[in-house]
């Protein structure tokens, strides 16, 4: 925990800096100058969003799936156990 006077000093420093910035800068103009939908459409047409379902599956995922399939073939007794857990 900071001593109370140090805390007050920090708060004062922040207030001073805020005041200083207020004197020298103005807040940003937040008015949107134009409708951006045409730009959005252009971006959508050039970069179609990826499909919700992955079209490319990395090779190691295929390898894992093959291993899991092989395990099920070699040890079919684990299938009921898997059903039980899922």
């Amino acid at each position: 925990m900071k001593p109370a006077n140090q805390q007050e000093c920090d708060n004062q420093a922040e207030r001073n800096l805020r005041e200083f910035l207020k004197q020298n800068l103005t807040r940003a103009n937040t008015e949107l100058p134009r409708d951006l939908w045409p730009q959005m459409l252009e971006k959508l047409s050039h970069q179609p969003a990826p499909a919700l379902w992955p079209t490319h599956v990395p090779w190691f995922d295929w390898a894992l799936a093959a291993l899991a399939g092989a395990a099920l073939l070699v040890f079919p007794g684990i299938i009921p156990a898997l059903f039980y857990h899922f």
């Binding site: 004062q12 207030r15 800068l25 949107l32 730009q39 959005m40 971006k43 969003a49 990826p50 919700l52």
Partner: protein, 176 residues
């Protein structure tokens, strides 16, 4: 099916409706961070592009504006990280009817340099808190940080800014 459900299932018309409803808010939030209207426009489109790509992860029961603002903040932060030398802090501000002496211009330039030297994650919270007067809880919601962590970052940014400005010969107040 309501609008958000249709959007989450990939309906482009629903996305357009959401875009038109929220583009102003998203732009306004981003321009507060990057302070350049051209960059803010590009980042608004980028934000909605990310929103569209992530639509399957959106829960229609959740708050779309809060989710969108979080994505916008991340897009703006990515911009600050990758373009540290390009974004002008006071460059896109509205022309204020105030005496613009050489001293003031020099001071603004030094403030700009001091902000440029902040690490992006500090610059983001410092710009929003110190220049734009955004409440800590708003910044926290948009960044995914806790309000106390935002406060700590603002405090550290204040220290860094004061140190840099002092080294440039500018004093910001009596407190040390």
């Amino acid at each position: 099916m309501d609008l958000l459900e249709r959007f989450a299932s990939g309906d482009l018309e629903a996305f357009e409706t959401l875009f038109r409803q929220h583009q102003r808010d998203i732009y306004a939030w981003i321009v507060r961070i990057v302070r350049d209207s051209g960059i803010a426009e590009d980042l608004t489109v980028e934000t909605f592009w990310r929103i569209y790509r992530s639509r399957a992860r959106f829960h229609p029961a959740g708050s779309f504006p809060a989710w969108a603002r979080r994505i916008a903040t991340n897009a703006a932060l990515d911009h600050l990280r990758h373009n540290r030398r390009e974004t002008e802090l006071p460059g896109d501000l509205p022309a204020a009817p105030r005496p613009d002496s050489a001293v003031t211009r020099d001071t603004r330039h030094k403030i700009h340099q001091a902000f440029q030297q902040l690490p992006p994650r500090y610059r983001l919270v410092a710009t929003l808190a110190l220049i734009e007067d955004e409440p800590y809880n708003e910044i926290a919601a948009a960044t995914g940080l806790s309000a106390s962590l935002v406060k700590i970052r603002v405090f550290r940014a204040v220290r860094m800014l004061r140190k840099t400005l002092t080294a440039m010969g500018i004093t910001t107040g009596a407190a040390s």
